[in-house]
Symmetry: C2
Subunit: 113 residues, 2 copies
């Protein structure tokens, strides 16, 4: 994978971002499979624009997903399979997390051509 492909190719603003900041515990079992399934499911949702993520060796990281509008985020939040994954996340894999829903007003980049 080209490392530049880790940047989401988002359209001109306005659009929305969900900033998910999280601290993982040490439990490995099930986490990657669930993450892959949630990414697959997110990509199928109406209004999904892209996602970026990174986590450091201490288990602190971000998943920032981008969406067309607030409605598409609301629908994704309420998705039944996603809700079950959120509950499992709290019970099994996350020490703590913060989720912020934000409307992107301006964007600029460097080195992305």
């Amino acid at each position: 994978m080209n490392p530049l492909d880790r940047f989401a190719a988002t359209p001109e603003p306005p659009y929305y971002a969900v900033i998910f900041t999280s601290l993982r515990n040490d439990v490995v079992e099930g986490y990657d499979d669930m993450g892959s399934r949630m990414m697959e499911l997110a990509r199928e949702q109406d209004g999904f624009l892209g996602v970026e993520s990174a986590r450091d060796a201490a288990g602190f990281g971000f998943t920032v997903s981008y969406w067309r509008d607030a409605e598409s985020i609301r629908a994704w939040k309420m998705n039944t399979e996603h809700r079950a994954a959120q509950a499992q996340g709290q019970a099994r894999w996350y020490e703590a997390y913060a989720t912020r829903v934000a409307k992107v007003e301006r964007a600029y980049d460097f080195g992305l051509g």
Copy 2:
């Protein structure tokens, strides 16, 4: 440092976020010092609320800073010392980056008490 202290203690929305997604090159020299200085300088700015950051072993990462309003972000963007740092960042340390300025409308968390 308590790992939970890596989460920014932000107020109730609305407030603003600057999502800085970046890919580092391999140049180490000068980077940490500049990062420390920019964090120190950011904390002095009117309207600064907090910051969260993480980068993975491949050099892909996030710095998300939080601000009271769009005006405080504009002032920070135009800060003379910060502008010099941005130019050095492009010349020396970053392969690519994307910056998105977004208004946080809703927020919730888990495990942060």
